[in-house]
Amino acid sequence: MNVARTAGGTEGGAPGFAPGEHLLAAESLTKTFGGLAAVKNVSFMVRKEAIKAIIGPNGAGKTTLYDLLTGIYEPDEGSVIFEEKSLLGLPPHRICAMGVARTFQTVRIFSQMTVQENVMVGLHKSTSSGMVGCSLRLPRARREEAWIAEEATRYLDLVGLEMQADSPAGSLPYGQQRLLEMARALATRPKLLLLDEPASGLNAYETRELGELIYRIRDMGITVLLVEHDMGLVMRISEEVLVLDYGEVIAEGTPEEVRNDPRVIEAYLGSELE
């Protein structure tokens, strides 16, 4: 039964979509706001355990693309296939449960909660005690609670925020808030992590550290999609680059190919890639 469904999914999948090799396939995604196309006919695929970057000038539709992938908006047209299942029409929390996590361009941490509590929210979906269990502190709920605290500490260790576990999240400096968002996203135990400008607000040293962290995340078996303006970071760590301009794909390939693409150079006015 399982086999049959997998086979059916493969046949019905996007052309050129080979299961087992690709984690995510977006097919001709389009989203229009009040007559203005923010994302127009965008198709791309992400290989398993790859680091893929999405670049483009401001307003190119990168964040909107993320919103489409995570279910915050529904695309007007197109499809998103994740692990051979369609994500279309699913609410964000279901998409998260399937293994897609993200950070935000403008950080959206829960600033009135502690750093650790923020990460603990990411573990919400992996636990299940209900109202009765939680209010009576039944053994299972207590075990879960202890497990949540332990796991949360693990993810804080990973991003290097373990010392600030009990600080209010809102008191962290901006760069650390971004790291916290990553820890929180990782706590949902994703297969695909969408990072939205993780390097903004970081200095050169911190950016290098971030690169290392992204490698570590990939080595945990998590596929990383990266929207980033820091070209140094993008060219250094990503295996593939997708270039958007005015909501359309203008180039896709290895960093080397993209760097030399005349349309890309034109879009960036030849300035930022140097």
Binding site: F33, G34, D67, I72, Y73
Partner: protein, 298 residues
């Protein structure tokens, strides 16, 4: 059924008269919402003051009616202005929840104040022109013509104010983006002040139109209905308020009329019509029946 149809002209006339009052209250909500982003839960109490002040000045103090009416409008406007300075200004950076609760507090305070000063259930305010007019199938008090006229004039004045005058345009700018308005040199806090003044004055007109009876207890009811009218037409939109007020006024007559005459159900359910309409519109078409599709904000 025949009875119901025979009553229809009367329902329409009553609905139109009530609708006019709702329009005035709804415009008060809109003005404050547009310039401050606050829904003023004390809007209905402004109407209460309008009626009670008119009674106090015209009957207790024995002033001539036109003078009493003008003074009542001015006094209510003053109350709105005081409320803004003493309560809204200190809360200008507060959360939505805080602002809601504070205006609720103000509304309770005003109602109770009205009750202490005018404790009877109802006070009769003299009509501008007593007597009734007989129309085919319906009888309406002459007062109705005044209500209609006042409403039309108020709507036109508000429309002209917001589209033609500098202050009105500045207030609209505040509604679109307070920070940007602040940056281009609009005094946001003054706009908030004016909007309460204006909304209170409009509210008091509604209270006068609601005469011949003034009472401390009308505030909540008028407030909910005015807000319903504003939401039905699309919050913040002057002509939306007109549409919403008329729709609500008519439905509130026709539905209970139908239920009572045709199905024999108690008229007491009339009080639920506005609330049900409000909830339905909020859930099914939150931008109002006139509003364009809203862009979802994340």
């Amino acid at each position: 059924m025949v009875d119901f149809l025979r009553n229809c002209p009367q329902y329409l006339a009553n609905g139109l008269a009530n609708g006019c009052i709702y329009i005035l209250v709804a415009m008060g909500f809109n003005i404050i919402y547009n310039s401050t982003g606050i829904i003023n839960f004390a809007q209905g109490e402004f109407s209460m003051f309008g009626g009670l002040f008119a009674y106090a000045l015209a009957v207790s103090a024995g002033l001539s009616l036109p003078l009493a009416v003008l003074l009542a409008i001015a006094a209510t406007g003053l109350i709105g202005a005081c409320m803004e300075r003493l309560m809204i200004y200190p809360l200008r950076r507060a959360s939505v929840l805080t602002a809601i609760i504070a205006t609720i507090g103000a509304s309770i305070f005003f109602k109770s104040l009205g009750r202490v000063l005018w404790p009877n259930e109802a006070y009769k305010v003299p009509e501008f022109t007593p007597g009734n007019i007989s129309l085919p199938g319906a009888t309406v008090p002459r007062q109705f013509l005044w209500v209609l006229g006042l409403t039309v004039i108020s709507v036109l004045l508000v429309y002209v104010f917001f589209s033609r005058t500098r202050a009105g345009r500045a207030m609209r700018a505040c509604s679109v983006n307070r920070q940007a308005a602040c940056l281009v040199g609009i005094d946001v806090s003054r706009m908030s002040f004016y909007s309460f003044l204006l909304a209170a004055a409009l509210g008091s007109v509604a209270g006068l139109a609601n005469a011949p009876y003034a009472s401390y207890s009308i505030g909540l009811d008028l407030g909910v209905k005015g807000f319903t009218a504003a939401v039905v037409g699309g919050l913040g939109n002057t002509f939306g308020a007109v549409t919403g007020g008329l729709v609500l006024g008519l439905l509130e007559e026709l539905i209970p009329g139908f239920l009572t005459v045709v199905m024999g159900i108690s008229t007491g359910y009339k009080g639920a019509v506005a609330s049900i309409l409000l909830i339905m519109v909020l859930l099914l078409r939150p931008q109002g029946i006139l509003g364009k599709g809203m862009v979802e904000k994340v």
